[in-house]
Amino acid sequence: MKPISAKDIDAERAHISEVVSDGVVETFNSMFGQAITAGDLAEKFQSEKGSVYSSIKLHQANVDVEFCFRFDIELLLQAAELIFTRDYLDANPVQNDIACEIANIVCSKVKAYLNEKGFDTEMGFPFIPPADENPLLKNRDMVHMHFYYGGEQSSRGVGVVVNFFADDKPPVT
């Protein structure tokens, strides 16, 4: 297996974006019963009813690749209502669990893609970043992907935004 660097991730970003995009659409459609469309209307970034963020990292030796997801809370609630009763959801908000699971599934697909390219990476557990930290706004954005829900007219605005970036960490001496 080859060592990976932030430059390698940069060189692969178009393909990784494709893997992420397909993964988000497939996961929402097949597992959570929500029709999602990939798009690029970045100006609709703002969510009206609040957002849920999740993150997950791939790493190998001195490189971390971090994936950040932002979900409209309304989209996650729609997905949750297909699985849980209203009473259960009132007592047990599960939107963070859905956000983490989607991050987990999508990142696994990227891990498999990188493995095919000869890069072996380890995947961490998905996590919810601290409330005061918006991981999408870190000043290192390489790629922003936007997904819409609510039918072909995309009238519901941005349902999911994904960003990823790689960092070369200084080697431990």
């Binding site: 497939e26 699971e101 987990n104 599934i105 697909k109 995947m123």
Partner: protein
């Protein structure tokens, strides 16, 4: 299925994510399963498996603490539990993980995202395994 009656089968779902547990539970219930328990980690799963003779155990490969893969390996080393069908559920889609899981004793390997049609097809194969396993045990006991 001759010796396998879905409402009688005891199922344990082990995953740290409540949404995944519920998704699988709903799909199993739609198929006719009635006895479905769940555990949020390997320790809880071990307690439940000690107390209840489950027929099928779904295990998330990657969980904080002891992984589902490690837990399955431990049970597969103990013949007391060889009646259990272990179903590994994971987002790891690489073929090598499937091979590794099956080699370590998994009865089935289900990749997330879980699509209902694929899920049912795989559970039918698990039921066939249970049937075959019971038949061979009955044959061995009668020999």
């Amino acid at each position: 299925m001759g010796t396998v009656n879905l409402p009688d089968l005891r199922v344990l779902l082990v995953d740290d994510n409540v949404v995944v547990r519920k998704l699988i539970e709903v799909q199993l219930a739609n198929m006719g399963f009635k006895n479905i328990d769940s555990a949020g980690n390997s320790n809880e799963a071990q307690e439940k498996i000690s107390a209840t003779p489950y027929d099928i155990v779904f295990l998330d490969w990657n969980m904080p603490g002891k992984s589902g893969y490690t837990l399955m390996q431990e049970y597969r080393e103990d013949r007391q539990y060889d009646h259990i069908a272990f179903v590994m559920v994971t987002a790891e889609s690489q073929e090598r993980y499937t091979r590794e899981a099956l080699k370590a004793g998994a009865t089935m390997y289900i990749t997330k995202p879980i699509a209902p049609a694929t899920f049912k097809e795989k559970i039918d194969r698990v039921l066939a395994w249970l049937e075959s396993n019971r038949a061979s045990k009955a044959g061995a006991a009668g020999a």
